[in-house]
């Protein structure tokens, strides 16, 4: 089985609810964002590019692409980032990471991986989110893990469960009857930087 995500760009309004629920559910340290919503257009979020005759703006939710052929897992010298063959999820072992940042350099998806450059700091003095969310560690790399802890319980990743636009879908890409497979069969889609041959498990409906 291979878990994947299908994101309908027509339905994404750039609200960043997914970014916030992701941060809360996984108790992500301050200033680390696993799940970004990027603006294609101007130089700042929610600004349009082009000219006034035809201003252009499109939001792109971007997190770890959980590649079938990940660049990161190959280069990690100790296997702290590894592909779970059972689920297709690219995972992170914080207590194993030596902090060499090979994976940051290897990942073609700019910005999806984060390093804890300092002792993780939080806005609350108690842990937010899922009780079984992974504990973050200083000087280790982290990223979207498809909310492994939730998926293991049979739940949806936080960003999917609370997507306002109902733009996100999650499921087994290997199962032709899954919602994600059906969407891919019926809609036109694109992938981020497919040219790198990473075979991302995140698809964007256009």
């Amino acid at each position: 089985m291979r878990y994947g995500m299908v994101i309908d760009l027509k339905r994404c309004s750039g609200c960043k609810t997914c970014s916030v629920v992701c941060k809360v559910a996984n108790n992500i340290p301050n200033d680390i964002i696993w799940n970004r919503v990027l603006t294609e257009g101007g130089n700042a979020p929610d600004t349009a590019g082009g000219t006034w005759d035809n201003p252009e703006m499109q939001h792109w939710p971007v997190a770890c692409q959980h590649c079938e052929n990940p660049a990161c897992t190959k280069v990690c010298p100790v296997g702290a980032t590894w592909k779970d063959e059972q689920t297709g999820i690219v995972r992170q072992d914080y207590d194993k990471c030596i902090g060499c940042r090979m994976c940051l350099a290897a990942c073609p998806y700019t910005g999806v991986r984060s390093f804890n450059w300092e002792e993780p700091a939080y806005y609350a003095d108690f842990a937010l989110g899922d009780a079984d969310a992974a504990k973050h560690e200083k000087h280790t790399v982290e990223k979207c893990i498809f909310c492994t802890q939730r998926v293991a319980r049979g739940e949806q990743p936080a960003c999917v469960a609370d997507c306002i636009g109902r733009a996100r879908h999650f499921g087994d890409l290997d199962d032709p009857n899954s919602e994600v497979s059906k969407l891919l069969a019926s809609r036109e889609y694109t992938q981020l930087h497919a040219e790198f041959g990473t075979k991302p498990s995140v698809y964007y409906l256009v």
């Binding site: 027509k10 916030v20 207590d95 842990a127 306002i164």
Partner: protein, 828 residues
């Protein structure tokens, strides 16, 4: 079972190998293939957690679940709403950020008083006890009321958390006879939709069952993607499943504009001209829904030429009971006068009808006369929308299938806002768009249930625009007008309100930040002898107060809310942090401190029952206990027998409109009887549509509007660090690169916006979606978050239309220049 692996600090892949047996036990029946097969939309609680019902009070009262662990809200998520015919699950980034909102650094933690001997706003505070705070406040109230009258103490009772919780605050204001500070904001949309169609449509989650069915949907003058984010997916449903054409009318092409099939950019403040021009095209092309207008609108009503009022049965017959009154129409079936309720075929287009010695015209014929003043050439010139686009727009409005127009606060924020809302409503009525009469279930927030109405509850309503004069002279004078009632003309003299002001108690909101012309607001606030502010967080209003009270959040208080088809009774999920108290308890403490104990006997849970237990609830079989038990109840939009307008019909014609916010001002009802277009008072830099350009535009050529932003509601939520991570970390102003480059402004550089009222320093962000000649500055950053100035330093408190007084935030001219980093004038 090796598939159930979890990478946590406790259980890693490496650690897992040693704990396989334990994991297998824990995992029980989980499928062996990968993780468990996904069961969408379920969320479980961990064993040491409790799940509470709550809601987000940012805007739409979205029902949420709060996950509570060790006495803290650790997570919020959208609550599944059972019994709703459509997917009502909703929570945006603001709701998701509640866990950190509760514990944010900027929360007011304890009652504080301004340190002895320091200036207001100096930021020096001393912690005091609740007893001392309440004692000081009550002593002051008694002193001022004894010397200067009860109204010398003014209160702002919008509530620190949510309007529905202002129950006890209203009671305090009424019983103690404080004068009432009116926010004077957003009233054009409220009054405009109420008077024409009997209420709001499509705000937040309400009426969304209809949106998904639309074939044509118009979003006019706002950006629901940002201001009511949960509305978006219904629109997206319509587009995806129903091939709905989305039309967006806005000066700037922002996020909703990007999703539109037809985006119509117009000169700011010309919406009414565009709407009336479209109406003219639809009428001339014979595409009006006459049957709808005959049955559901005031179109066939006969309007007397003598006084401009509808001709009623009670005008023609003696002894007609009020509830049996009817409206005269001309019935083509009988070619004689008939009544609206019985006529077979009431005529719409007929003038000069003589009935019982009264010369009458149908209301619709009056409208036709009015819209004839808006030929497409003139409309195109005034709005700058090409004629071809206007025709395409008209064609799309007449597409087969369901259509409607979603109006918002963007077109409200003009002096003539009411006229704009009413003009857009004309299209809805002519095309039969307005759905059957319905109403989002309301809760009673008046502060009195039906048994208590004997208490005098009328207090003097004051707008902040009156404060400066009242504090200087104890008086405010409204200008007299010449009022027109049909052929009658009346001279109404000036009206002077006398009201000494000494003390202001603000419960919630952040008027200093959100009212226009902030420098004037501060000037006024500083003239009060005593300022008390209760708020959840430190804000511009709290900063300049004498006593500050810590208010509790919804999650710390709980209680009922009814919004957008859902009733919620929130649990008290956690204990109030620090020494925060609910609005309800604060009102009780002050009420009791003033010796008004008899009115403030009940504690929160008891008192809140009155809010739910209304006559309407009883009729629907709902009561507080049931709601409390259920947590969330879906009631949907309640069908009503008639539209909740003055006549029970859709009304493009107002025969005797009064303001919904009455300060005692004289006014000319004729000014809004039929919608018309007038350009903005200030933001009119062009000569077009028969109106000369405002010469001020030579000095200040750009129109600035403060659009809503995703991560705050006005200033609320704007200091929540979790949300601050999601946006640029300081106030920004969006500008078209063309305007920027003409002024030597670079993308991402600091700029100064200024006019005669003040200035604001912000970071310029280029966007080609901003209409050249316009600027879109952020809304809701606190003064302390600005390097200098504030967006509302630029805006004006001028009231244009006294039949519907509302602040014209968007009627504002400025110039913009690169900022050299020097604070141009001393900041308070």
């Amino acid at each position: 079972m090796e598939s159930v692996q979890n990478t946590t600090g406790a259980l890693t892949r490496r650690g897992f190998l040693k704990t396989t047996a334990a994991a297998a036990l824990v995992a029980g029946g989980v499928s062996a293939a990968g993780f468990a097969a996904l069961t969408p939309k379920t969320a479980s609680a961990q064993s040491d957690e409790k799940i509470c019902t709550t809601y987000c009070n940012a805007c739409m009262g979205c029902p949420l679940e709060a996950v509570v662990r060790d006495g803290n809200v650790v997570l919020t998520r959208a609550k599944e709403i059972e019994g709703a015919p459509i997917d009502q699950k909703r929570m945006c980034a603001r709701g998701a950020s509640i866990p950190t909102l509760i514990v944010q650094e900027k929360r007011i933690q304890y009652p504080m008083k301004r340190a002895e001997g320091t200036e207001r706003g100096a930021g020096q505070w001393e912690r005091i006890s609740w007893d001392e705070a309440i004692d000081t406040i009550c002593t002051k109230i008694k002193e001022y009321q004894a010397e200067f009258g009860s109204g010398s103490v003014c209160s702002f009772t919008y509530g620190t958390t949510e309007p529905r919780n202002m129950y006890n605050l209203n009671r305090l204001e009424n019983v103690a006879q404080f004068s009432h500070q009116n926010r004077t904001t957003d009233f054009a949309l409220t009054q405009g939709t109420m008077y024409t169609a009997g209420g709001f449509y499509y705000q937040g989650g309400v009426d969304m069952d209809l949106v998904s069915q639309m074939s044509t949907f118009v979003v006019w003058g706002h950006n629901p993607i940002v201001s009511w984010p949960n509305a978006w997916h219904y629109i997206a449903d319509a587009i995806e499943n129903n091939d709905c054409k989305l039309i967006v009318v806005d000066p700037n092409k922002n996020t909703i504009g990007q999703k539109a099939d037809l985006f119509v950019s117009l000169q700011p403040g010309t919406d009414a001209a565009l709407a009336l021009g479209l109406a003219k095209i639809i009428e001339e092309e014979g595409k009006t829904d006459d049957a709808f207008m005959q049955q559901k609108s005031c179109a066939p009503f006969l309007v007397k030429e003598s006084d401009g009022r509808f001709l009623r049965k009670s005008d023609l017959e003696e002894g007609v009971a009020a509830d049996a009154d009817d409206f005269a129409v001309w019935d083509e079936a009988t070619n004689a006068m008939g009544y609206a309720s019985t006529a077979q075929n009431p005529v719409l287009r007929k003038k000069g009808i003589e009935v019982a010695g009264q010369r009458c015209n149908t209301a619709y014929s009056l409208l036709i006369d009015r819209i004839s003043e808006y030929p497409i050439e003139m409309v195109s010139e005034a709005t700058t929308v090409p004629e071809e686009t206007i025709r395409t727009f008209a064609d799309l409005l007449c597409r087969p299938g369901m259509a409607d127009i979603f109006q918002g606060y963007g077109i409200d924020h003009y002096g003539h806002g009411f006229n704009t809302i009413a003009a857009v409503s004309v299209l809805r009525i002519m095309r039969g768009m307005v759905p059957e009469p319905r109403m989002s279930y309301p809760l009673n927030s008046s502060g009195f249930d039906e048994t208590e109405t004997e208490h005098p509850a009328i207090v003097q309503s004051l707008g902040t625009f009156m404060f400066n004069d009242l504090l200087d002279t104890g008086k405010y004078t409204f200008p007299g007008v010449t009022a027109h009632m049909g052929e009658q003309v009346m001279e109404l003299p000036d009206v002077t309100v006398e009201q000494p002001l000494k003390m202001l108690i603000s419960f919630g909101a952040n008027i200093v930040n959100s009212a226009p012309d902030r420098n004037k607001t501060i000037e006024a606030y500083k003239k009060f002898d005593f300022l008390v502010t209760a708020n959840i967080e430190w804000c511009d209003t709290a900063d300049i107060s004498d006593i500050v009270l810590p208010a509790a959040t919804i999650q710390e208080v709980g209680g009922p809310i009814g919004m957008n088809g859902c009733l919620v009774w929130a649990d008290k999920a956690v204990e109030p942090k620090f020494e925060a108290k609910s609005d309800y308890d604060m009102a009780n403490l002050i009420g009791r401190g003033l010796g008004l104990d008899e009115w403030f006997q009940e504690e929160f849970d008891e008192g809140m029952k009155h809010v739910v237990n209304t006559a309407m609830s009883a009729a629907m079989g709902i009561d507080a206990d049931k709601l409390k038990e259920a947590g969330v109840m879906y009631v949907g939009a309640v069908p009503m027998p008639a539209y909740m307008t003055m006549t029970g019909k859709l009304q493009f014609y107002q025969e005797n409109p009064g303001p919904i916010e009455n300060y005692g001002q004289p006014m000319d009802p004729a000014s809004i009887a039929l919608p018309h277009w007038e350009p903005p008072m200030e933001a009119w830099p062009v000569t077009a549509g028969g109106f000369d350009a405002n010469p001020l535009a030579e000095k200040y050529p750009l129109i600035v509007t403060a659009g809503t932003r995703r991560f705050r509601v006005h200033s609320y939520y704007g200091q929540n660090p979790l949300l601050r991570e999601m946006e640029i970390n300081e106030p920004c102003v969006r500008i078209n690169p063309v305007d920027a480059e003409a002024r030597g402004i670079e993308d991402g550089s600091y700029v100064r916006l200024f006019n005669d009222r003040g200035h604001a320093v912000a970071k310029a962000t280029f966007s080609a979606g901003i209409r050249p000649g316009c600027l879109d500055i952020d809304r809701g950053w606190q003064r302390s978050q600005y390097l200098s100035g504030c967006n509302n330093d630029l805006t004006s408190k001028q009231i244009v239309d006294w039949t519907c007084p509302t602040y014209a935030y968007h009627d504002c001219l400025v110039e913009i220049e690169p900022w050299d980093g020097v604070v141009a004038e001393s900041q308070e």
